[in-house]
């Protein structure tokens, strides 16, 4: 049996709202209409046919967005600015975000066509949508990414992509099962660490023995009390799979605080600074050392007078330190006097940074720079670290089994129960 190569799939099958085929219907309609001879001037707009750098509607990627807060808005604007995107749907549990998002999209296209949703499942069920971007709090990522894959959508998911160790393999499996392009959302991995990446990939450090990542803090349990709801928000949906808790503006703030003033600080919704900035810094470290496809086999917990710190040991001999006293962020210990053969540094495909890379891959079915598997492996470092610090002990990690070896308590922290009716 021979499958068509991904790149050779018919254009109208390209982005694979592959199930029901309404996406096909839309394109087939436009193509059929464009060759019709009767009434064409009145049916087909210049926008539909394309002009300049704006492809015809049948060649645009039809997109929607879920979670249009601080990061989601930035992502949305990046996609909305592209001529090869037709942005048709937006979803947020906050009324203000949802309405502002719809207004932004309608203004972009000078129409009122964008559909706004409170429930992401309605957006994902639309067969005409090829791809979605997700920028909700982290406790929603896995459920939404997997559901998007089940619905045949390609996905750009903001970092940190996972909240627990168990979520990652399930997200990767869903992406692979349905042949979806799923890109993680750290642009910094490629863009911020070039001064380390380029010499490392050129072999100038020799064999890298270790690299240090300084990032934090750890997440904290949130026990904030009830506040009057000063905004219109579907609170039950915001909490989703997380434990019930009363509304509190700090609990659900989308600000970038990791010190108690936003959801990024709290363990029910985030891995704290360890995942929030760790997605960037650990991602940069694994890129510099070219271990993006690997997970460590051991995390060693150190507690001494000048602080607590970790050493992640990889099967290939590399150690990634976390917060090692006296070490700078991304401080590299190489092998003096050794010059390794250089290798080309991976780069984004297409144009427009990480967003362009994703869209290029949606069209070509190539693997994006921040493929979900690499993103998951980065998050694993942060999660392992959080667990080791919480338990205050060293842990052996069996990456193949996705379990800790000989530590039943640690294995209880690999995942968490989800509030009904949500499940992975």
């Amino acid at each position: 049996m021979v499958l068509p190569r991904p790149g050779s799939i018919r254009k109208n099958q390209r982005a694979g709202s592959a199930d029901v085929g309404a996406g096909d219907s839309r394109r087939q309609f436009l193509k059929a209409a464009s060759v019709a001879t009767f009434g064409v001037p009145y049916l087909i707009t210049s926008s539909a046919l394309g002009s300049g750098d704006r492809p015809a509607a049948s060649d645009r990627i039809v997109m929607g967005g879920i979670g249009i807060g601080n990061m989601g808005r930035g992502d949305q604007e990046a996609f909305l600015g592209r001529g090869d995107i037709q942005y048709v749907a937006t979803c947020d549990v906050r009324d203000a975000n949802r309405e502002q998002s719809k207004a932004r999209i309608d203004d972009r296209y000078k129409n009122k066509d964008c559909q706004a949703y409170r429930d992401f499942r309605e957006l994902l069920a639309r067969p005409d949508i090829d791809a979605v971007h997700i920028a909700t709090p982290d406790h929603w990522h896995a459920i939404m990414v997997i559901e998007a894959c089940r619905n045949g959508k390609d996905v750009y998911c903001q970092k940190p992509e996972t909240l627990t160790l168990r979520e990652g393999p399930l997200m990767v499996a869903a992406a692979r099962r349905y042949g979806r392009i799923v890109s993680g959302g750290s642009q910094r991995v490629l863009e911020d660490y070039r001064r380390f990446v380029e010499p490392a990939w050129a072999g100038e450090f020799g064999t890298i023995q270790s690299i240090n990542v300084n990032v934090g803090p750890l997440p904290q349990l949130c026990n904030l009390g009830q506040e009057e709801m000063g905004e219109k928000i579907d609170w039950d949906m915001w909490l989703g799979p997380a434990a019930w808790a009363p509304y509190n503006s700090k609990r659900c703030s989308g600000s970038f605080s990791i010190n108690g003033a936003s959801w990024r600080s709290f363990s029910d919704y985030s891995g704290g600074g360890m995942t929030d900035w760790g997605a960037h810094h650990f991602g940069g470290a694994t890129f510099i050392c070219d271990v993006r496809s690997l997970q460590p086999s051991e995390v060693v917990y150190h507690e001494q007078s000048d602080g607590k710190w970790l050493g992640y040991h990889y099967p290939n001999g590399l150690t990634i330190h976390h917060n090692k006293p006296g070490s700078d962020n991304l401080q590299i210990v190489g092998t003096p006097g050794e010059q390794l053969p250089g290798k080309p540094v991976p780069a984004y495909k297409g144009t427009g940074g990480i967003y362009g890379d994703f869209i290029h891959c949606v069209k070509s079915r190539e693997t994006p720079f921040r493929d979900i598997e690499y993103a998951v492996n980065t998050c694993v470092l942060a999660h392992l670290g959080n667990i080791a610090y919480q338990l205050k002990r060293s842990l052996q990690w069996d990456a193949a089994a996705q379990q800790f070896s000989d530590d039943a308590e640690a294995n209880r922290l690999v995942d968490r129960g989800r509030r009904e009716p949500w499940q992975l």
């Binding site: 049996m1 499958l3 694979g16 592959a18 199930d19 029901v20 085929g21 089940r150 045949g152 499996a173 692979r176 099962r177 349905y178 042949g179 904290q220 349990l221 026990n223 904030l224 009390g225 009830q226 434990a243 019930w244 808790a245 009363p246 919480q390 338990l391 205050k392 002990r393 039943a408 308590e409 209880r412 922290l413 995942d415 968490r416 129960g417 989800r418 509030r419 009904e420 009716p421 949500w422 499940q423 992975l424």
Partner: protein, 233 residues
């Protein structure tokens, strides 16, 4: 300090500083490797669940029992399964407590509960990945409540293996409505079989899904699976 923390637990609620319970947190971590300490602490946590403490305090206790709870805690946790306020974190603990007692408590909950709480129990059986839960879930695949049937299918997919796959295939053959969630769970089972080198069984599932399926997404997924099987055969 620990006594003070348990005293504070009696008045603990949303808005109370978590620092008041820090001694319990420390004791949970410190009990690692000390079965006596652990049993004593577990007993105090179980006892607290039986008192008139707040919803938040019970949730906190469930979170701790999720780390150190044993079969001794199952009964107290199972009692919370019918409470809309505490069912989630009680399940969170039960999902993590090894042994047949916790599995049985969840299976009982599936038959006795309704609505979201029932769905939660179904999800927890799947999260445990315990093959002993297959029979209880299989009977729900034909449930008249489509949400229950979908949850059962997803949990069977999480458990994986031949027995779960057989239940899903039987349900798929007799289903008259949407089958997407059954197909997705079957694909998940096939992947679990392939991971454990049961290539023949995985191939059979993929073949059943690659043929005359109305869903192109499922057909392509099954075809990808067949290629993976061929590469492993």
């Amino acid at each position: 300090m620990l006594n003070q923390a348990f005293e504070a637990l009696k008045k603990f609620d949303f808005g109370t500083p978590l620092s008041e319970l820090q001694a319990i947190e420390d004791a949970v971590i410190g009990a690692h490797g000390d079965s006596t300490l652990r049993s004593d602490l577990e007993a105090r946590l179980i006892a607290a669940l039986g008192t008139d403490i707040s919803r938040d305090a019970k949730d906190y206790v469930c979170r701790k029992l999720a780390v150190i709870g044993s079969s001794a805690a199952v009964s107290a946790l199972a009692d919370l399964m019918s409470s809309e306020a505490n069912a989630h974190l009680a399940r969170h603990a039960l999902e993590r407590i090894p042994g047949p007692e916790a599995a049985a408590a969840l299976a009982t909950a599936v038959t006795s509960l309704n609505g979201k709480l029932k769905i939660g129990a179904i999800a927890s059986i799947g999260a445990r990945g315990d093959a002993a839960g297959v029979a209880a879930l299989a009977s729900l695949l034909q449930d008249t409540d489509a949400v229950v049937a979908r949850a059962a299918a997803m949990s069977l997919g999480s458990i994986g293996g031949s027995e779960a796959a057989a239940a899903l295939q039987a349900a798929a053959q007799s289903a008259t409505g949407g089958k997407g969630f059954l197909m997705d769970a079957l694909l998940s089972c096939a992947e679990s079989l392939l991971r454990t080198n049961k290539v023949e069984a995985a191939t059979a599932i993929y073949q059943s899904l690659a043929g005359d399926q109305p869903s192109r997404l499922i057909r392509l997924a099954a075809t990808r699976g067949l290629l993976a099987c061929a590469a492993k055969a």
